[in-house]
């Protein structure tokens, strides 16, 4: 087991290095950092002096190692646009995105998985078919359209829920949370729904397809032939066996949530990391872009690692070596 974890850790480090290389290339070679930082009136000599100060004339390798060292230390540099330290900007906005993502993930899992099981086991019937149709449409509606429609119905026509910003937040240390007030919770609902619906349909379709595959295997047929009651067959045998690949995908899902939160945050003006990234693209704020890249990659690598370890724990075939006789 230890060997497995160490191997995966080493792989993760490699991936992070690759990503940081990309981020560094982005940072250093796209556009001219100095030209963006200073005004047009600054003389060439001043610009050169600035270049020297920033260490931009050193050999590339040195710059790269410095870059990585800074990253590890948590020094992310400054934004071109706002001049704020990037680390601070990210910390300010991370709770917003994480809370939003968490609630969406919960929606996706708690509705998606049961729906997937239900439609896998019942091949016909009004409810099963309607769920299937709804999910087909759900997969086809872009996140922002869902958001807009929700705003239109609940915000404009019915006026029940807030459609703009985070609403009431409570500060705990540096973390601002929506969870502790009713107003905060209400502000979360529409964005979380928007983000969650798409993920939900993906989860449901995946669980359904995996379970259908499992139901066709020999060991299920054998269990039925032995007279095991259908309920046990469905849940103890079929569901458990379909969970193995589902676990992986749920891990990836969290990634999708982080990604699509960009869109949701844009629609609802939710002040999270996604909005930050979007602005950085619009204004070509390279340092923010490259740091965001590294942070997201880190999140994904960690998620992948956790998923792999989970795989290891759940599936005895991975854990134990086959023996003879």
């Amino acid at each position: 087991m230890a060997g497995f974890i160490i191997r995966r850790l080493i792989q993760s480090v490699f991936v992070m290095l690759a990503v940081s290389l990309l981020a560094f290339a982005l940072f250093r070679f796209v556009g001219d950092p100095v030209a963006v930082m200073v005004g047009q009136e600054t003389s060439i000599e001043d610009q050169d002096r600035l270049r020297e100060q920033l260490g931009l004339n050193d050999p590339v390798i040195t710059q790269y190692t410095r870059f990585v060292a800074n990253l590890v230390r948590g020094e992310f540099g400054f934004s071109f646009r706002t001049r704020q330290p990037i680390g601070e900007m990210i910390l300010q906005r991370m709770p917003a995105t994480l809370e939003l993502g968490f609630v969406s993930l919960m929606i996706s899992l708690f509705v998606g998985i049961p729906a997937g099981i239900y439609t896998a086991l019942r091949n016909d019937g009004v409810l099963a078919n309607s769920i299937l149709i709804v999910t087909l449409i759900g997969v086809s509606i872009p996140t922002f359209v869902i958001g807009i429609f929700l705003i239109y119905i609940f915000g404009v026509q019915l006026g029940w829920l807030p459609t703009f910003g985070r609403g009431d937040v409570v500060e705990i240390g540096w973390w601002k949370t929506n969870f502790l007030t009713l107003g905060g919770l209400r502000a979360l609902i529409l964005p979380a729904l928007t983000l969650g619906v798409y993920q939900l349909t993906l989860t449901m379709r995946l669980v359904r397809s995996e379970m259908q595959d499992v139901m066709n295997t020999d060991f299920i047929k054998f269990a039925i032939a032995r007279g095991i009651d259908y309920r046990t067959v469905h849940y103890r045998h079929a569901l458990r066996n379909s969970m193995v690949p589902v676990v992986t995908i749920i891990g990836l899902q969290f990634g999708g949530i982080i990604a699509f939160s960009i869109v949701t945050e844009s629609v609802f003006q939710w002040p999270g990391m996604g909005l930050l990234f979007l602005d950085s693209i619009r204004y070509v704020d390279i340092p923010v872009m490259s740091v965001y890249l590294v942070i997201i990659a880190l999140i994904f690598v960690v998620i992948n690692l956790v998923v792999d370890i989970l795989y290891f724990v759940i599936d005895p075939r991975v854990r134990l070596k086959p023996e003879g006789g």
């Binding site: 020999d218 054998f222 007279g227 045998h237 599936d315 134990l320």
Partner: protein
């Protein structure tokens, strides 16, 4: 009338887009407690459908159109789904072919056994556990208590099938349906499992319906047998009677097609010929000037091998070891030795049979000879000159034409997306054996006729043909390059017995006509006996015996060879 199971006039149909398909029709079967009844037939005969019908698990949208199934006199068709399900396990159970996929990989053996026992009887966990242990011992798993909390993948194939049988038994059913229970196992293990089944029938009085395509298995343990073809019952009765002195023509032809272990025949005689599936106008279609004779002449015309005394193919001290390629493994590399110091010779015009079970290295040997992999040591000589091995063999090397291969799986040896004409024509084009496209067509059509296929087949695609027909096409493709040496790697293992006999006859005829030297690989000793002049035996990568075929089969010297011969279920048991 059987007191345990009684099936009368059973008919099962499947609606398909081509119309209603009748899987089985008018089947009668009766079984007493403790009796083992075999259902034998070739693929598509409907044997599995009968088993599924008895246990009530016919694959949707199939349905029972008519007939009765009675267990202990009770009509099973009158039961509701729920009542039927209660019967499963308690009275009727079923085991399948592949032990690997029959067990839930995520649960321990203990979990699966205890769950099954407690499903049907009201006992405590510990009591169930005790019962499981004694069951595992009964099915031959020593140290059962220790192995209970292992997972299925930690058992070998034979052991797994014992676990499967234990699982089927733990509910004390009166009837067990065994669908090809030993087909996926090696010969020695098969013998043990069959012995286990016979012992269980005797000691516990459990009735077995044993479904198989292997007549040897039928001969070995069944008391009575039903012969099926195309969903209909051809003949049934006591095994001794049906196999020893068959009544029905089909049974007779089937028995004639089974390769005999006790003597070598010139050809398989009195077997069925494959009914042509193409209608007469198609049979009449021909390419200008193409004929069987033309092919024969053309094949004989090619480059004659340089006169050379001595073997056509010589393998000297061949070693093949595979190393696991882990990117981050440090230290000693694990090696798996597939072939260890193998030496053999094939004389011109002779057939060398290579006998080996799974894992013996026989396929590795074939791949090394044709250049698909590179041996770690040793050499291969063709007509006296050493061959470049593996990657060293240039793509344009002449030996690539002179050595050809016929593969095992007719369903994967032909490219499904190409026409037969292109498949057979490719070697001609590649090796430059024809002067023009027209001549190429002529050769393709003629060679098809040579392998007893209609010429029009060249316009069709592989999926339009049966397994046996595809294998003929594969032989045609191998022949058309005018090879001097042919390797046949389990060429008939995937075919039904009667088709196998036809293909083996074809190979014999072609070999005699063209004087081909053949390396014939198979795990089936009877087939090897029918085809070979000389025989070698491979065991786990080592060559344990090499001798002339007749003396080998009469009197093998090595222990392993004796074991193999002994364990092969054979028809001698029905000596009349």
């Amino acid at each position: 009338m059987g007191s345990l199971l009684n099936v009368s006039d059973l008919t099962v149909r499947f609606p398909t887009r081509f119309g209603e398909f009748t899987a089985i029709e008018g089947i009668n079967l009766s079984l007493e407690p403790g009796e083992i009844h075999g259902l034998v037939g070739e693929s598509g005969a409907g044997k599995s459908t009968i088993g599924a019908a008895i246990i009530g698990l016919i694959q949707a949208p199939g349905y029972i159109a008519q007939g009765r199934v009675e267990l202990h006199g009770k009509d099973l068709r009158a039961l509701t789904q729920a009542e039927y399900h209660k019967l499963r396990g308690a009275k009727i159970s079923m085991i399948f072919q592949d032990p690997q996929t029959s067990l839930n990989p995520l649960l321990t053996i203990e979990d699966q056994l205890v769950e099954t026992i407690r499903q049907h009887s009201d006992v405590s966990y510990n009591e169930a556990r005790k019962q499981s242990i004694s069951l595992l011992k009964e099915t031959g798993i020593q140290d059962a208590a220790a192995r209970m909390d292992e997972y299925p993948h930690q058992f070998s194939g034979g052991m797994r099938q014992r676990v499967v049988i234990a699982l089927a038994l733990c509910t004390n059913p009166d009837l067990i349906i065994a669908d090809e229970p030993t087909t996926a196992l090696d010969v020695a293990i098969q013998k043990q499992i069959l012995a286990l089944i016979r012992q269980l029938a005797r000691d516990r009085g459990v009735g077995f319906v044993l479904i198989t395509h292997d007549i040897g298995v039928i001969a070995e343990i069944t008391d009575s047998v039903s012969v099926l073809r195309g969903g209909k019952l051809m003949e049934e009765g006591a095994t001794q009677q049906v196999l020893g002195a068959p009544d029905h023509d089909y049974t007779k032809a089937l028995m004639a097609a089974v390769p005999r272990l006790d003597e070598k025949l010139e050809r398989f005689a009195n077997i069925m010929s494959e009914a042509p599936t193409l209608s007469t106008p198609e049979l009449a279609w021909r390419v200008q000037g193409a004929s069987d004779q033309f092919a024969s002449d053309w094949l004989l015309r090619g480059e004659r091998p340089d006169a050379h005394d001595g073997p056509v193919l010589s393998v000297r001290n061949l070693d093949v070891t595979f190393y696991s390629s882990r990117p981050f493994s440090w230290g000693k590399k694990n090696g798996f030795t597939a072939l260890d110091n193998i030496s053999l010779d094939v004389q011109p015009g002779q057939v060398l049979g290579v006998i080996g079970e799974s894992g013996s290295g026989k396929s590795t040997l074939a791949k090394a000879i044709v250049g698909l992999l590179r041996p770690t040591a040793g050499e291969i000589l063709f007509n006296g000159s050493p061959l470049p091995l593996g990657r060293d063999r240039a793509r344009a090397h002449p030996v690539r034409r002179k050595i050809q291969m016929v593969f095992q799986d007719p369903y994967s040896s032909l490219n499904n997306r190409r026409k037969i004409e292109d498949i057979i024509g490719e070697p001609i084009r590649f090796f430059g054996l024809a002067d023009s496209a027209a001549q190429r067509r002529r050769i393709v059509a003629s060679v098809l006729e040579l392998v007893e296929m209609p010429q029009r087949a060249m316009l069709k695609f592989p999926h339009q043909f049966s397994g046996g027909q595809r294998q003929r096409i594969a032989v045609a493709r191998a022949l058309v390059a005018r090879p001097e040496f042919l390797i046949c790697d389990e060429p008939t293992s995937a075919l039904d017995v009667s088709i196998q006999a036809q293909i083996l006859n074809l190979l014999k005829d072609l070999q005699a006509r063209f004087g081909l030297s053949i390396l014939f690989i198979s795990h089936n000793l009877a087939v090897v006996r029918q085809m070979s002049d000389h025989v070698v035996v491979l065991k786990r990568g080592q060559l344990v015996e090499s001798s002339a075929a007749e003396s080998f089969f009469a009197n093998p010297t090595h222990d392993y060879s004796k074991l193999l011969l002994n364990d092969t279920p054979s028809l001698e048991l029905i000596a009349s």
